[in-house]
């Protein structure tokens, strides 16, 4: 039971392609993925972080690394991309729509095509399964959610395939029933990524997902990024780890002092940077 795919036990659960091919990539095939772009973003924060005139885009099926030293505004940029707040200047575009020009209901729909994982531990105090299914649950109608809650009082259903697949992608399938509080930091981060993946987003934003993690968990997360890319998701990774950027990304954007000073295919940025500060940075020197 623990290793079998539950699809075999549930003949009437959904469409045929789901039972035969549980890989979310096949689910994703029903809708084409869209790109996420920032155009001329500028934003000021109370704490002095400032972004200036940042334009970048992440395309379906690629990994974009956003690199730069800590404190350079990567987190601010990602929060703007995830539509936490409206930028002071510029636009965030999903599939060509300026998200802040949309009415609120449509913006919610657009926002739900973007998943995100954070640098800090952010799991809810419940089971791994309920964490991962959270995004799916909030997308359901209120009546369905109330019904689920009531049914939940009388015993639990098996986790959905979507949840299982998301957990398999991060290699955490065996922990589906565990209490989230009992996980190590690395395991928790992998579950958080599974939570972002479960609703099958178009865009996956990862803000420093592997900082302070051991190599094994880092490797699992990097493999999950590649898996997401391979099913057509646009993956944006903020990292201060140049080696990681070089390892996993297709393109790289370098942020320094709150603005994007160089971007291009990862190899080019690393092999022959145009900007002198980028050269120093990729060589591992401190840059301000």
């Amino acid at each position: 039971m623990t290793t079998e795919r539950p699809g075999a036990d549930e003949p009437d659960s959904g469409e045929p392609d789901e039972t035969t091919a549980p890989d979310p990539a096949s689910n994703g095939a029903r809708r084409s993925k869209t790109r996420l772009a920032a155009r001329g973003l500028g934003h000021g924060f109370g704490d002095g972080t400032v972004l200036e005139d940042i334009s970048l885009a992440v395309e379906p099926g690629e990994i974009l690394a956003v690199v730069g030293p800590s404190g350079t505004g990567k987190t601010t940029l990602f929060r703007l991309l995830a539509m936490f707040e409206r930028p002071d200047e510029g636009t965030v575009e999903v599939g060509g729509d300026d998200v802040w020009g949309l009415p609120e209901a449509r913006r919610l729909a657009v926002r739900r095509r973007v998943g995100m994982a954070f640098q800090t531990r952010s799991l809810f105090s419940t089971t791994v399964e309920e964490n991962v299914s959270y995004g799916l649950r909030v997308r359901r109608s209120w009546s369905a959610r109330v019904r689920d809650a009531v049914e939940g009082l009388f015993g639990r259903e098996e986790p959905s395939e979507t949840v299982e697949d998301a957990l398999r992608t991060v290699g955490m399938f065996d922990k589906v029933g565990r209490d989230a509080g009992s996980l190590s930091a690395g395991e928790a981060q992998r579950v958080a990524i599974a939570r972002a993946l479960a609703p099958d987003p178009d865009v996956l934003l990862l803000d420093e997902p592997t900082s302070n993690l051991d190599p094994r968990n880092t490797a699992a997360i990097e493999s999950a990024m590649r898996a997401a890319r391979d099913r057509g998701i646009a993956v944006a990774l903020a990292t201060h780890d140049m080696q990681q950027a070089r390892r996993v990304s297709d393109r790289t954007a370098v942020i320094l002092g709150g603005t994007c000073i160089e971007s291009g295919p990862t190899d080019e940025v690393f092999e022959s940077p145009d900007d002198d500060r980028v050269r120093q940075f990729v060589e591992g020197k401190l840059v301000y």
């Binding site: 919610l108 954070f118 959270y134 995004g135 909030v138 029933g177 209490d179 972002a196 609703p199």
Partner: protein, 232 residues
Amino acid sequence: MFALGDLNLTYLVSITAVSLYVSTAAVALSAALGLPISLAVGFRDFYGKSVVTSVISTGMGFPSVVVGLVVLLALSRSGPLGTFELLFTPEAMILSQTILALPVLVSVSLSAVQSVPQDLRDAAFAAGGTSTDVALLVVREARYGIVTALLAAYGRAISEVGSVLIVGGNIVFSDSTSFTRTLTTAITVEARKGNIETGIALGAILLALVLGVNALGARFRDRTPGRNGRGR
């Protein structure tokens, strides 16, 4: 229960029932009003927020008798809400106890709500949650503290005597069924008559009731989030 010899069972059961009914309704009302207040105050920054929070904590120590008098004035036939004829009814008692329980509930649940990390609210938002979803998640994450808040509010309501005596009128019908007499106001009657032992025996029942409610709350509160028995 030697000291209860002169109190019949109907009387005991019905004053206990009135105590439970009034306090439960008051706490339910306070929760319906107070949790949204805690969430709003907890997560929004606005001008005068510190004033609001100190008003709330001051409300915790508000003398119940004063609340009783204010409610009395409001509900009296000669007061502004007199036409509803609510004075000396259980509903009047629910009103005054709600006023008393609300600050306790808001105050305790506010700190519980504020202790939920920003990271978790961000995660709920990023996972596609609306602001309602985020609020529900916060309530869920703060459930331990919120149950504590409910229990504290319940404790304040059920052990309260000053206001319910004033606005309820301490009425018992001649067939020994209580209309607005609670365990606490029954104790005042016994004290007034000098029946100290009977009063203490009623106090013991009240204590048992509060203990029971707390045990129930603690059970709910300490239920493991994983709902044990997940054999995977």
